[in-house]
Symmetry: C2
């Protein structure tokens, strides 16, 4: 089966022990029985979003779908990236969250800045988590992207793990396309300003915190495009 | 003024000769007078989307906005890229068109394939052209991305300029992140399969046409994400 044609992974955060049986929730059962047309005895794969890849054997496909967990392997996250992202214009963040998760970003931290604050929006975080899960399933990744609530930039900067590799999206920075690759340090962190840009004090604070300016295109990009371009750069540098 | 804070370019496809005056259309007048709060005697910039950068001096800002074209310079397109793109799932193409234009792609060609056809949609091309114009203005680019109607893949492949540099988004391909840069040949062309992937015959036809497989991430990407990742790779390789 071509890689592109492999079915999506199931996302089962509470994966049981090998030998255990469980009945799939309605949406997963529909996917397995109707979309994939899997039959009793066939296998599907699942992850808990924390590195597990589980083989599930279908033992019943009638009213509900019951699977038996045959085996689980675990893969550590080989690389870790975080995206600190200022507020984009309008409602442009849903697509961004989906794309970052597809590209394998580990953590999405919306940051509030002088020139841009994330609007309060009820239900947004839950929606973003659903989008991250859908992207994990689709891209068959084993590690679910964490989604944070918006926090002030200064607070986010002061809580970064020591020794992180930090990059600031900036038109005046080093050009990514000329052989510059991520260093392999974990986590690798990208900081993208809001649609109005970081102000001088914030930019200075980022430089003091060790962020290196990085130019992602030959023209200015919207916030969400820059965040995506940064994630592409990081994702492409993998093994 | 910081690059990020520079106002958007005006898009005036029928740019007059230097010395000529013209009254801006309502949307441009609103942008200049209300959003940028420009006053008589101040200057704004415009492009015709074909390489011109024009300096316009405001001579009237009252009921309407009248500008005098002071000078025009022309910049050739230093690099050219085309994206041949299979149909993504659902309605995921609007964002893609906007992002490709922001990244400086020159031509967007939707292609119909065995496993995915673009649905007929009235008004879509005009909407995509509006999105491309908005992205040109926002990113202050001088060359407007051309948007084509969907065409069969085989027809698109047979109409590529001889000597193009051609790349096929493919998980089995060469890894972009390890120092592989676009060659600088124009046009540089990316081919991205539909959500179900190219079939074997189509893939073979692309290889015969000179497309080289290129791996854009360490997991499979949705069609529109792969198209975007390809454009990021191309865009980052610029001067």
């Amino acid at each position: 089966m071509a890689a592109d044609a492999a079915p999506a992974l199931l996302y089962l955060p509470g994966l049981p022990e090998p030998g255990a049986r469980l009945e799939l929730a309605a949406a997963d059962a529909h996917y397995v029985a109707r979309v994939c047309r899997a039959r009793v005895g066939e296998r599907v794969e699942a992850t808990d979003g924390r590195g597990a890849r589980a083989a599930l054997r279908l033992v019943e496909v009638r009213r509900g779908v019951v699977v038996e967990l045959e085996a689980v392997t675990r893969e550590p996250a080989l690389r870790q990236s975080w995206v600190l992202c200022g507020a984009p214009q309008g409602e442009r963040a849903d697509w961004l969250v989906e794309k970052l998760a597809e590209l394998g970003v580990g953590r999405f931290l919306p940051v509030d800045t002088v020139r841009g604050r994330w609007r309060a929006a009820s239900g947004r975080r839950a929606r973003w988590e659903r989008l991250a899960i859908a992207a994990l399933r689709q891209s068959r990744r084993l590690h679910l992207m964490a989604v944070e609530e918006p926090a002030p930039l200064q607070q986010a900067l002061s809580s970064l793990p020591p020794g992180s590799s930090c990059w600031l999206a900036d038109l005046s920075g080093a050009v990514t396309g000329h052989g510059l690759a991520p260093t392999g340090v974990d986590p690798t962190i990208g900081l993208i300003g809001p649609s109005g840009g970081l102000d001088d004090g914030e930019r200075q604070a980022a430089l003091v915190a060790g962020f290196q300016p990085l130019r992602l295109s030959d023209a200015r990009l919207r916030t969400e495009t820059a965040a995506l371009a940064w994630a592409v750069w990081w994702s492409a540098g993998g093994p």
